[in-house]
């Protein structure tokens, strides 16, 4: 209850100010059916609340995001986390960001092997690749005449030497032979090199991600294609996704996997979509299946129904949240 009151207090305070805000409060219910005999079936009910606050003073942006969860039944998980809190200054051809933030690095749909800046928030959901913990750091982006950017990033990392990781990133877009976006990153952490590209040819998006860790002489790579068919049955769009993941590190996730997915976007007023995925682990000859349906009720309530199943467990999930 303390968590809910905190969020409600923050919400009412900001309404009186000129802050931009956005948030949600909802309930998440997961039912786990294990196929392993010594693990019992369990149901997890959780209250979740998040709020984002943003204040812009001409070239300066102050941003914060607070996230909280609390399990209702067994109280195994509860936290109130300042997951993002940064100050950004934007000049004509550069910007500087100081504080805790989340970055997205990658191009693939299923899993981003180059998305290493933030650690995953496994306490929230170990199956959600987008659940990440904010990282404390400093980012300097310099923009060239053609809008390509050179970034220098220094961040706190407990697993790195001297608790510091540094990154040098070059990103850009081109529109010559085909429309494409690219990023190349060098990192001091495990002496790594990363890159991710997207390329558009007609109605298809081609993607590649690559990560090489010089310290351990291991690599991870992924290639993929996403093709969209428009105007299926009135206004619906159907995207077909095919991705392949490969690594020489046998302890990594998606060491030799194929992902086949499809997303039906209804293009209705409820922004409904249905995603179906199948992952084959070629090393073990095992399959994982997933199905997810998202829709909106009364404009303010976003609803998600999902089902994930693999050799060990089946997870049924209902999530409904009020957005403001």
């Amino acid at each position: 209850m303390r968590y809910l009151l905190s969020i409600l207090f923050i919400s009412s305070t900001l309404i009186a100010s000129e802050l931009e805000y956005k948030g949600n409060i909802g309930i998440d219910i997961k039912k786990y059916n294990y196929n392993i005999s010594f693990l019992k079936q369990k149901t997890q009910k959780t209250i979740e609340a998040n709020i984002e606050l943003k204040k812009t003073y001409e070239e300066v942006v102050l941003f914060t995001k607070i996230e909280s969860i609390k399990d209702i039944d067994k109280s195994t998980r509860k936290y109130l986390k300042l997951n993002e809190f940064y100050l950004k200054y934007e000049a004509d051809n550069y910007d500087i960001k100081i504080g805790r933030d989340i970055k997205y690095w990658g191009a693939m749909e299923l899993y981003n092997i180059t998305d290493i800046y933030n650690k995953k928030n496994t306490q929230y959901n170990e199956n959600d690749k987008d659940a990440k913990l904010g990282t404390d750091g400093f980012t300097y982006n310099y923009y060239l005449q053609n809008e390509d950017s050179i970034s220098v990033i220094i961040s706190k990392n407990k697993d790195a030497k001297n608790n510091i990781s540094s990154f040098l990133k070059y990103s850009g877009s081109r529109d010559d032979i085909a429309s494409r976006d690219f990023s190349y990153i060098l990192s001091s952490f495990d002496e790594s090199f990363l890159m991710f590209h997207t390329l558009i040819i007609k109605d298809s998006i081609y993607k590649v991600e690559y990560l090489y860790l010089n310290k351990t002489k291991t690599y991870k790579t992924a290639i993929g294609i996403e093709h969209t068919l428009y105007g299926i049955n009135d206004k619906k769009d159907l995207s077909i996704m095919l991705e392949y993941y490969k690594s020489n590190n046998k302890n990594t996730i998606y060491q030799n996997n194929i992902f086949l997915g499809s997303r039906l976007t209804f293009n209705d007023t409820k922004s409904s979509d249905l995603t179906i995925g199948l992952i084959k682990d070629n090393s073990k000859d095992e399959y994982s299946k997933s199905i997810e349906f998202n829709t909106r009720i009364y404009d303010e309530f976003k609803t998600k129904l999902s089902y994930i199943s693999n050799e060990n467990v089946s997870i049924y999930n209902i999530n409904i949240a009020y957005h403001f």
């Binding site: 877009s173 429309s179 558009i200 428009y230 293009n267 409820k270």
Partner: protein, 250 residues
């Protein structure tokens, strides 16, 4: 007398002999020269049972000779607040388009070759919301003068040059005095009437005509969408860099 008659006849011929291209250029010219603009947009989606859903956005546009650049920010519904769409239009090739998803901090490239996809679940397609420069069409037949509800309009037929257009042809109706577009009838790839757009509330701002409202009726599913603009401002000295990928993450 013969000279006077022949002058009058020639005058009448030239009045009625306005060509499709000339008409399209004149209509286009009325909305050209805004340089850059900002506005708030409200989209009212009305289903066949007359139930309404309202969406709000803010937008800014930079006028360009080879296509406009635009940045649209979704303000409602709350779960998509802050989602941004950046479009770099091109006259002779596919547009560049990126979507920023704030929940993921992700900028995603969109394959924008297909123009017939629905814009935010509305009866507008992406093609309808983009710049309709006269150069994007070929023109067919002669311009006719027709009367609708006691008002005179020039009726012309245009065919999209883009092979990925959702339309086989469009029939335009422009005011005979002002050349402002009043109505467009859109025909689908099967050459059947799909939609009709009525253009209302034209505003003249600093010598440039801006649309105030479009009512789009889909005849095949009986749904309707009203797109209206408020707080329109032009000639704001916006720059190309205000429409770069960098601005999506702000």
């Amino acid at each position: 007398m013969n000279k006077i008659l022949s002058t009058l006849t020639l005058g009448a011929i030239s009045l009625f002999a306005i060509g499709n291209i000339e008409l399209a250029k004149k209509s286009d010219a009325l909305s050209d020269g805004f340089q850059s603009s900002t506005s708030n947009m409200t989209m009212t989606l009305i289903n066949s049972a007359k139930q309404k859903t309202i969406r709000q956005m803010s937008s800014k546009t930079l006028e360009g000779q080879n296509g406009d650049m635009s940045l649209m920010v979704f303000l409602t519904p709350a779960d998509v607040k802050g989602t941004k769409m950046l479009t770099h239009e091109h006259i002779n090739k596919d547009d560049d388009q990126w979507m920023y998803l704030p929940a993921l901090k992700r900028v995603k490239r969109i394959a924008s070759r297909n123009k017939s996809g629905s814009f935010m679940g509305s009866e507008f397609s992406y093609e309808d919301t983009s710049n309709n420069s006269w150069e994007k069409y070929t023109y067919k037949g002669a311009v006719q003068e027709v009367s609708i509800e006691g008002k005179r309009y020039f009726k012309g037929t245009r065919i999209p040059k883009d092979k990925n257009s959702g339309y086989s042809k469009q029939i335009t109706y422009s005011d005979v005095n002002t050349y402002l577009i009043y109505k467009i009838e859109y025909y689908d790839r099967k050459n059947e009437l799909l939609k009709t757009a009525i253009f209302k509330k034209w505003n003249k701002l600093d010598g440039v005509y801006l649309m105030g409202e479009i009512v789009m009726t889909n005849h095949q599913n009986s749904k309707k969408t009203i797109l209206s603009w408020t707080n329109q401002k032009i000639k704001l000295n916006l720059k190309k860099k205000d429409f770069s990928k960098r601005k999506l993450k702000r």
